[in-house]
């Protein structure tokens, strides 16, 4: 019975035509967005419609054709969703460019999209079996640590907006933490597969009367958790002021250890340790304190730093909460249906092309529009979890669920920051926001998911004879 349900988990259907139709719809939505922006802002059809829409659409269709040939069994929904998010991002950046924000740079985003899709295709083509990554977990883990530490090097490290998370290579800047998180997921998948039994079985039960409260792991099994915690707190928060990456990596670690062991005690211990460290650090680490104050008291005049008190000591020392507050005003301005794509006044939001692109979408598309954006991301995460369920190997299960959780959690961290649910951290919405490293790493994650879904959904090779000794195995 259970074998029967397993084989039905994902029916062996390709549904490439559904993917094509959805991708074309996503391209159409991008073009529609450009037209709406042109009509609203300038009262005419945008002259660059075919430059942006055509090039972007061509790229997306090429990606689809590539998938049709090289990963025909992969999930039909991932590529259209990524196309929609990426297209909406390019549309919004073009709109910001029209609105006079020079840093928006829609053209560079389009070029980066092309480059990212090329990397996407290369990964889908060359990484035929993602499980080969399982062979080198420690090397990849070391790579992740090195990538995370690179910005601390004096020569090439760069501090942007207080966070030391950039590398300046002269001709371009990259954000290595975006790639480190993927490497970390690979390392954790490999590590958890080998240590899973120890982490999930050895335990000491804590009981209150008859009731089981917690399954405490043994002290020595806490070492990986302690290492991860120490790294996230000491290196990322204290030295690099990169609260976003820290939260993202530690959250992913907890999610993966939970997936591997199915024990909630790991999550309780991890969250207690992380928030305990945050509370303990609060009085001592000044930039951390700034983030907390701008989050908790965002609307206080001396934190907001209105023009009346420019000489206030707090403002001069610590910056202000204007970015956050302006973002919230934009959310409020948007309301349910928004002001129409291109009809809002979003130029006054600080870093609108980057962290706060969500606020710009909220003002122009309203709640109705950003719900679509969120649903697209939710569907992407759902497909990823589905791939994890449908895969047979433990490593692939861990890998797919880790990557999907990463996408979902990153979205939560950004949007939670913009909507003032959690402190501002400075991560970016996958596929949407401006930024080459973020876009590239999003497409890399998509490529990994596509390849894994292709292998999971591909029907098993058929034996020629019923009980023959030789079988043809298709690769």
């Amino acid at each position: 019975m259970s074998t029967a349900t397993n084989s039905q988990a994902l029916p062996p259907v390709k549904r490439r035509n559904a993917e094509l139709a959805m991708t074309l719809a996503a391209i159409g939505l991008t073009m529609f967005a450009l037209i709406e922006i042109g009509l609203t802002r300038n009262g005419e059809m945008p002259p660059q419609l075919f430059l942006y829409g055509g090039v972007f659409g061509g790229l997306a269709v090429l990606a689809h054709v590539f998938i049709r040939f090289f990963a025909p069994w992969s999930d039909p929904l991932l590529l259209p969703l990524a196309t929609l998010l990426n297209g909406l991002g390019i549309g919004m950046l073009w709109r910001l460019d029209q609105g006079g924000i020079d840093r928006a740079g829609p053209m560079s985003q389009l070029i980066l999209t092309a480059a990212s899709m090329a990397v996407f295709a290369a990964i889908v083509f060359f990484l035929k079996e993602p499980r080969t990554l399982q062979r080198y977990p420690y090397i990849i883990g070391l790579g992740a640590v090195v990538l995370l530490l690179l910005p601390l090097l004096p020569g090439i490290g760069m501090t942007v907006n207080g966070a030391r998370q950039w590398l300046n290579l002269g001709f371009t800047t990259i954000q290595p933490s975006e790639f480190a998180k993927i490497a970390l997921v690979i390392f954790l998948s490999g590590y958890m597969v080998s240590k899973r039994d120890v982490l999930s079985l050895a335990s000491k039960q804590i009981k209150v009367g008859r009731f089981k409260i917690l399954d405490l792991p043994r002290m020595r099994d806490m070492a990986p958790m302690a290492a991860m915690w120490g790294f996230c707190i000491i290196v990322l928060v204290i030295l690099m002021n990169d609260l976003g990456t820290s939260l993202l990596l530690f959250g992913t670690f907890l999610a993966m250890i939970y997936v591997a062991t199915h024990r909630s005690s790991w999550i309780v211990i991890g969250l207690t340790a992380f928030f305990g460290a945050c509370v303990a650090l609060y009085p001592f680490v000044s930039h951390f304190k700034v983030r907390m104050v701008t989050w908790l008291d965002a609307f206080a005049p001396d934190v907001y730093c209105v023009d009346g008190v420019p000489d206030d000591a707090w403002c001069r020392l610590n910056g202000d909460s204007q970015q956050l507050v302006r973002g919230i005003f934009a959310l409020a301005e948007g309301g349910v249906t928004g002001s129409g794509f291109g009809g809002g006044d979003v130029g006054y939001i600080i870093e609108v092309q980057n962290d706060f692109i969500f606020a710009a979408f909220a003002e122009e598309l309203g709640l109705t529009g950003i719900m679509v954006m969120l649903l697209a991301l939710v569907l992407m995460v759902e497909r990823g979890m589905r791939i994890a369920l449908a895969s047979k190997e433990l490593f692939i299960k861990m890998f797919a669920s880790g990557i999907s959780f990463l996408i979902g959690f990153q979205t939560f961290v950004v949007i939670g920051g913009v909507t003032r649910v959690i402190p501002m951290t400075g991560a970016t919405i996958p596929f949407v926001a401006k930024g080459g490293s973020a876009l590239l790493s999003s497409w890399i994650m998509l490529a990994l998911l596509m390849r894994m879904s292709n292998n999971a959904r591909k029907p098993a090779p058929q034996a020629i004879q019923d009980e023959g000794a030789t079988q043809v195995i298709q690769r």
Binding site: M1, S2, T3, A4, L10, P11, V13, R15, A18, A21, M22, A25, A26, G28, L29, F32, A33, E36, L39, T40, G43, P76, L77, P80, L81, L84, T337, G338, S339, G340, F341, G343, L365, G366, T368, G369, V372, L375, A376, L379, E382, R383, D466, E467
Partner: protein, 165 residues
Amino acid sequence: MSDLTLMLIKVAYLAVLWLFVIFAVGVIRTDLIGSPSKSKRRPRPSPSGQDGGAPRRPAAPKAPRGRRNEPRTLVVTKGPLAGNSLPLGPHPILIGRANDATLVINDDYASGRHARIYSENGRWFVEDLGSTNGTYLGQQRLTRPQPVSVGQPIRIGKTVLELRK
């Protein structure tokens, strides 16, 4: 561009965005529960109420049960569980030593998931699920699903089962 046109464009854009989401969920829906054409095909093999039309549909699954030769129970005639019986329903019956089997037989010669008995188009079939010692229908070892009639012995290890009316 008048304001009204712009507002219409705005509403149209939001509507199209939602249409995209709805179509996306539609793609998933067929992924989860099979394509609509397949689920339509399934009720077709039991066209007992063709003239009656829609109101008689719910009664259709009951109709085969009234037939004379239809087995109703699965009885264990030999082995550790001899004498036990199991009503036959629409669901397939998994036989084996595994705890999640429908009929858990405590037989040293049976595999964890040994065999499956299921009905298709009103006939009952037995299928060996790759067991170590094999499933026998009468004297013959099963290599593929075989139809079973009432009273035919199905041997699994030391256990013998039969379909009864």
